[in-house]
Amino acid sequence: MTDTNISRRTFLAASAASGLAGLAPFAPALAASGDDWGETFAAALERNPMLLGWKTPPDRLDAKALTVSGTWPAGLKGRFFRNGPSIHDRFGERYRHWFDGDGMIQEFAIADGRIAHRGRAIRTPKLDREDAAGKRLYNGYGTHLPKAAPVRGPDGMNAANISVLHHGGELMALWEGGSATRLDEATLTARGFKSWSPRLSGVPFSAHPKVDPDGTLWNIGCNLLPRPALVLYHIDRAGKLVKAGLVDAGPIGLIHDFVVTRKSLVILIQPFLFEPARAARASVLDAHVWNPQAETRALVVDKDDFGKRRWHALPACFGFHYGNAWEEADGTIRLDHCLAGNPGIVTETLRYAMKGEFRPSAPLRYAQIVLPPKTDGRIAGRGEEAEFAKVAPAAVGRRHRFVYTLGAPDNPEGWHFRTVVKRDLESGRVESFDYGPGRIPEEHIFVPKPGGQREDDGWLIGTVLDWRKGVSGLSAFDARAVAAGPVAQAWLPYPLPLGFHGAFVRV
């Protein structure tokens, strides 16, 4: 009930602010009647500048020197990359889900306190083919075109728009359901799809690979069409494939993230399942069916032998991201999860944001999931609103004390985050920094301090959109004093589209 109340309140406040309250009930009819999403969004943006983060930017952005306030930490040097759906309008038509915008790589090059930015739309084969045709050709995750061009495999609609990975000396933009896209580090130009081996060419490589402290990379691949399938990857620190496996997991939906312990990969299959037969007449998203009576299935796979697996049942839940996981002496696995009671955030809120319309949904909250070795699992506790959980790279797969998230405590501005949160799992203490009205923070990641000893010896680095000023910025926090706010910020002369995930590459 609490979830619903908060959602309703934030929705009403947002609607009143944007003048959309009277429009909302008619939205389904408008959506069905033709392609008015672009115009509707443009009109909503005029009334409500908070929507700036969903506006399509130019294909290319450059800023030689950002305006730095505070003292940029001397040890925080390198390149911070981010990715996210960015090109939301194509040939005068607007995608119908936030997750569909074509990807754009953002690079913040940080050297001796001087920060430069480059943004480049990622030229995927999809974009090239559409540009050659002079029109949109392909379906997206949440956009279904009545006359979509056929694709040979998932990479035909690969938007390279979810996250970024730097591994084995290679920079890659990651999508959710297809291959990684290789990027030239010097020019940020797309260089085609990454093939880990001939047999893995065109096989999905998901957007949340996990890297052990020794540099070993693990990932899942989630294939939906023509048949749902789950693929597992083991890649060494040099970027060479060690092994890959195919898991018969039964019915699955799109699986966004997973976690690793020292011994295992842990994959949750939520009861929001993809039904291939629906996909001919619906978007990928709309071919998913939520069944709250069904269970969430947790799959635990041995890292050394992908054939060794065990399953646990959990209550139905929906979420995108995990923080970290560890395995206790008796084999019990504990993991962080940002979860909601249903998938409304993806079926409603993040879809209609593209129209400039706020639709409430159950918020994502911090929870810990416990998987005892031989029994069903449980969701141990639900906390405050939380999303984009991150931990220190040295803690991946180990028992961690701290997890960092974004939060949105009773945000009257509508559905977006406002705080950066540090959670101490040992003391239960939660500290946060509130960016305040007019600012929308995005994922903040942990960058270790050189020579640091404690788990939280490091910085949190992340972007924030100041929609009142119409600019985006980069913040650096001392991870040991998150509530004190950023130690330094660097502001761009332009806004960036709100995106998803980043990676820091030390010089």
Partner: protein
Amino acid sequence: MNRKSCFAVAAAIAVFFALAAPAMSDTARAAELTIAVSGVKSAEGRIYVALHRAAAGVKFPDMKGAVAGAWSKAQKGGFSVTFAGLAPGRYAVNGFHDTDGDGELDTNLLGVPTEGYGFGNGATGSFGPPDFTAASIAVEGKTGVDLPIGY
């Protein structure tokens, strides 16, 4: 492509299995089909093409439905190949670029082709092949069909 180069290519094509149809009179085998292969990316390996007839219980492009086939050394761009002595009727066409020369259309772990392939009339399927009808043409007398190879 001019006639001369067409003949040169035709000479290089080897029929890899003969017409499976039973012996027929000359008039029953009076038709021919010329397949214009295009879009070949490189001169590596071979191009395989096959003709299929509709058959009960066979889902195109299962090779159980193939009645004739040929291969040629790959050439960047394309070439034409003619199948003569065909019984008039409807034939579907498929082909692939066997880049590594192992005689098979390579696929990934999930069964999706990783070498170039194509179908008659440029027909395409989404996440799979087109059906027989889309990839086929009625052959009588001298008939031509396009076979673009895509990657």
